[in-house]
Assembly symmetry: C2
Homo-oligomer: 165 residues x 2
């Protein structure tokens, strides 16, 4: 997408050189992230019959031992644009999560991990960490530090008041 | 997702410090990219009644003046996981693209930009470039170079034979 925009940018437009540099940087940032996501997703599929959206959903529940309301779960998910209700139903059929009415508000539904779901998530999380470590192993310590710093500067531009992780 | 995996990593696990460092780096890379994507998407929605997947699709067609077969279009799209057929149908109703049977193979459908679609894309591409330039304006020249370099090292790990853009 960005690649196309770049290649077809009007050479006579008033855009300064810096604009194109930013666009190239964004293209590289975007494609690199997409590559990592795809490798993670296909590894989770191959080794666990799972996916990145499923892993993400289970991770949110793993952080919330008392469970999460469906609405909270949707808000916390980073990856999925898909249907959370559908995903939860599938995970329940497989025994990884359990839905029950909220004790405080019977109209609301709370989702939590089952013991099986917890074990399933934890083995995926371990494989996920090892995979990420392997993928990033080609970066030198200097590159890691500079990548961390530059991304921090970029993030700070978005939400100056938010804690930059 | 990564955040959760990190916070709940077993402190007694055998994972080396480097693994957690890579995971933190991946979390930051992922969240930063997601933030940029969301701002781009919402800007395209607000200013053009469009979206990132629509922009991406139009960008691919903009690069292919003779049009693309539906299959080629699906393969080239970077962003969309959605239904390309559905997206093309919507863009055709709005007058931005046109479908016709492929001259070489009547069973195949070729999609191309209309003159209206071309103008629409070009004004979005210009706004998109300006937005990206603004978002990246907080990075110093040193940070830009080091980000570009570090992402290049990371990309090279995936597809050593591919041209690193």
């Amino acid at each position: 997408m960005i690649s196309s925009a770049l290649r077809h940018a009007d050479p006579e437009s008033a855009l300064a050189h810096d604009d194109h540099e930013a666009l190239r940087l964004w293209l590289r940032l975007f494609t690199t992230t997409t590559m990592v996501e795809r490798v993670v997703d296909s590894t989770l599929k191959r080794e666990f019959g799972s996916s990145l959206p499923r892993f993400d959903l289970l991770a949110q529940l793993h952080r919330a031992p008392d469970g999460l309301r469906m609405g909270e779960l949707s808000e916390r998910i980073l990856v999925t644009n898909g249907n959370v209700t559908w995903l939860v139903a599938a995970l329940e059929r497989e025994g990884f999560v359990k839905r029950r009415p909220d004790a405080a508000d019977r109209r609301a539904t709370v989702v939590r991990l089952t013991a099986t779901g917890r074990r399933h998530f934890e083995s995926m999380a371990q494989a996920h960490e090892a995979l990420i470590a392997d993928l990033f192993a080609g970066l030198s310590p200097v590159e890691r530090r500079s990548l961390h710093g530059a991304l921090g500067s970029l993030k700070a531009r978005f939400r100056p008041s938010e804690d930059v992780r």
